[in-house]
Amino acid sequence: MLFNSINFFIFLPIVFLLYWFVTNKKLVFQNGLLLVSSFFFYACWDWRFLFLLMFSILLDYITGIKMGDAKSKPEKKFWFWLSIIVNVGFLGVFKYYNFFAESLAESLSAIGLQTNFWTLKVILPVGISFYTFHGLSYVIDIYYDRIKPEKNFIDYAVFVSFFPLLVAGPIERATHLLPQIKKERKFDYNQAVVGLRQILWGLFKKVVIADSCAHFANMFFDDPTQYSGSALVLGALFFTFQIYGDFSGYSDIALGTAKLFGIDLLRNFAFPYFSRDIAEFWRRWHISLSSWFKDYLYIPLGGSKGGLWMKVRNTFIIFLVSGFWHGANWTFIVWGLLNAIYIMPSIIFNTNRNNIEIVAKGKLFPTFSELFSIVITFGLTVIAWIFFRAKSVSDALLYLKGIFSTSLFKVPVFIGRTDAIVTIILVLFFLVMEWRWREQQFALETIGINWKRPLRWAFYSGLICLILMYMHTEETPFIYFQF
């Protein structure tokens, strides 16, 4: 079930009404409802993979309790490694086995050895990377005594499978989400209203911005040899806004939906395209994943404590792993590597924490140097997205070669230029909105709260109309569902 599908808009009000009117007397009933609806939500994709999710939940629940009850360090270690190996093993089999088998076969054939490895003909279970990381953070936190194991199975299962975050995050932490699940929840009018606004903004980003940009991005990336350099630049820009609208739109819908149930999820995006350097970009893009890697990989590897060399090494490791986390393809690894290279100057010169606050805080416009930094950072990001989007590294290089050709200065020619101009206008409107309200959690958080109600409602209705006009008959899945 997709957030941008009619099924979700039937499912959500039913669960909402049951949650606040039928099961509101007891917390255990509310959590039970959340669990059942989350399993139903997941089973709508493929009910067979529900068993894999249940197994993963059960495994981490049991190993968590066993670690808590362990009488010796080796016993605790045993349960810890059991969970890690099984979790990572599942992820490895479903997501990476074919990649490794095929890459090995290709490498061996390059030296003249013909092999035919057995490959899996199985689809990737939706959200496996996300719920596996949920479980991993939970067992790691227990192992290092940061949290106590959760004894209530329903509460733990809701923590992992809460439907708004189940398939594409944000990647939650037990320390943040579990206490909210265990606490009695009262309906909060303001929180629910903000939640609806966030859902509306998320839908606008996904349906109007991302899906419109996707049409052109697909056209240019499918056959880059057919287009001029200038058209390919447009294609890369369209993809840049597609992926942002798609993923941050998903996150907004997830966060807004959770708010309707009285739960605050971790913020996942903080206007990343206004970043002044790559380090800032990574503090603002997919925040829950970046912080996960920082806490569970970068710091355990030694972080920045071992001097410059260790900092550089660990930075490369987390970016490569982050790239690989996105998918079993060399394109993602190159994308991670590129980002690691981009961030290196700020690591080496220790300037990676120069830009913590949002750019031009309290001002309407940035300074010239801020604007220059934003444009450079944005440009580097666009280049990296080409690798992320391309089917193979050679396709990405071909795309780049197409851009850096003499046709870069030609007027772009392609089918649907009028539609492309409309899309560009929509993207500009979107950018203006994001810039103007960049100090909020999301652009629509406070827009119009001081306006008269008819005007405010007319504005929201305008956004809804745009969403309706851009809706497709066929469902358009979110990009991050594949990861």
Partner: protein
């Protein structure tokens, strides 16, 4: 909570009303599909030749120039499966049907549309290709989408305003761009008016050909469509109806950009299959060359349809 739900209901009530309006409107509005099927049933006792196929046949075969009473049930983006299901549905209602013309073009064997037209075929022809239950229920949100629904309403408003000021009849359903607003449909046929020179620009023709060249890479579709094709021939043979399998003409610019080897391989396969049935294959692909007879690189216009229909008429005697 009460306050939240009341306010939400008030806010959403215009959208609910609009949805209800469109759900009713889309169940009553006339469409090209409705016009075709109603016209066929109206002429069911007379029809001797039934024309099936995609947009090439839809625009290119004018039944008025076929000497037997003919009816054009081809439609834009109509896959072979829809042709077969239409035939299966109407064949017993056509007592005088003697001949069937099935257009199989360069991409036909590789094309099966799973998109929005499956919904329209369900709504207007009553042919169910396993569309989702929710789509069957909500024409506004799922079947047509708000975008298409609004454009249909816009057309109806424009038509009503025009009708108030003019006496000239107008089409009472929304047709594609290129079809004149004041045209009339005859035995299922509606033609393109004039030539659109922009559509003959090299890049545009190339993009159009690319779509087809991309289609022909779907080998699985070919297997499925050949099966459907055989079922059609089987059904027509059972009813003792002579079948003419044809390939519609396309402009030389377009012809130069497609893979002729694939086309010949498919013709070979078609000719092999039809041997077992009461059928004939005629290839008209390169029969018409003048640009003024085409609306775009692969669709004949009204003038072209007259010439081609006369040609077809001679060939099926």
């Amino acid at each position: 909570m009460k306050k939240f739900l009341i306010k939400l209901f008030i806010f959403l009530s215009p959208f609910i009303l609009v949805s209800i309006f469109f759900e009713i409107y889309l169940r009553t509005v006339n469409t090209h599909y409705k016009e075709k099927i109603n016209g066929l049933y109206k002429n069911k006792d007379k029809v001797e030749v039934l024309i099936l196929g995609n947009s090439h046949a839809n625009y290119g075969i004018n039944p008025a120039y076929i000497s037997m009473e003919s009816y054009n049930m081809a439609m834009v983006n109509q896959p072979l499966l829809h042709d077969y299901l239409i035939l299966e549905k109407v064949i017993n209602s056509l007592p005088n049907l003697k001949k069937a013309i099935i257009s199989i073009d360069y991409h036909t064997l590789y094309f099966s549309d799973d998109g929005i037209r499956n919904n329209w075929v369900y709504y207007d022809y009553g042919i169910d290709t396993n569309i989702e239950y929710a789509t069957k229920l909500s024409r506004f949100w799922l079947g047509y989408t708000p975008k298409v629904a609004f454009s249909m309403l816009k057309y109806d408003i424009k038509r009503s305003i025009y009708n108030l000021k003019n006496e000239k009849p107008t089409l009472n359903f929304k047709a594609e761009n290129g079809v004149s607003f004041t045209d009339t449909i005859h035995n299922g046929w509606l033609g393109y008016t004039g030539t659109n020179p922009k559509k003959f620009n090299d890049n545009v023709v190339k993009s159009r050909a690319d779509v087809f060249n991309q289609n022909i890479t779907r080998k699985d579709e070919r297997v499925k469509n050949l099966k459907v094709f055989k079922s059609m021939l089987e059904l027509l043979k059972k009813k003792n109806i002579k079948t003419y399998v044809i390939t519609m003409p396309c402009h030389p610019k377009f012809r130069a950009m497609i893979d002729e080897n694939v086309r010949q391989k498919d013709i070979f396969e078609i000719e092999k299959i039809i041997k077992d049935y009461n059928a004939v294959y005629i290839d008209f692909f390169d029969n018409i060359n003048q640009q003024k007879l085409y609306y775009d690189c692969d669709h004949l216009n009204k003038q072209g349809a007259v010439i081609f229909s006369n040609l077809l008429n001679i060939s099926i005697q």
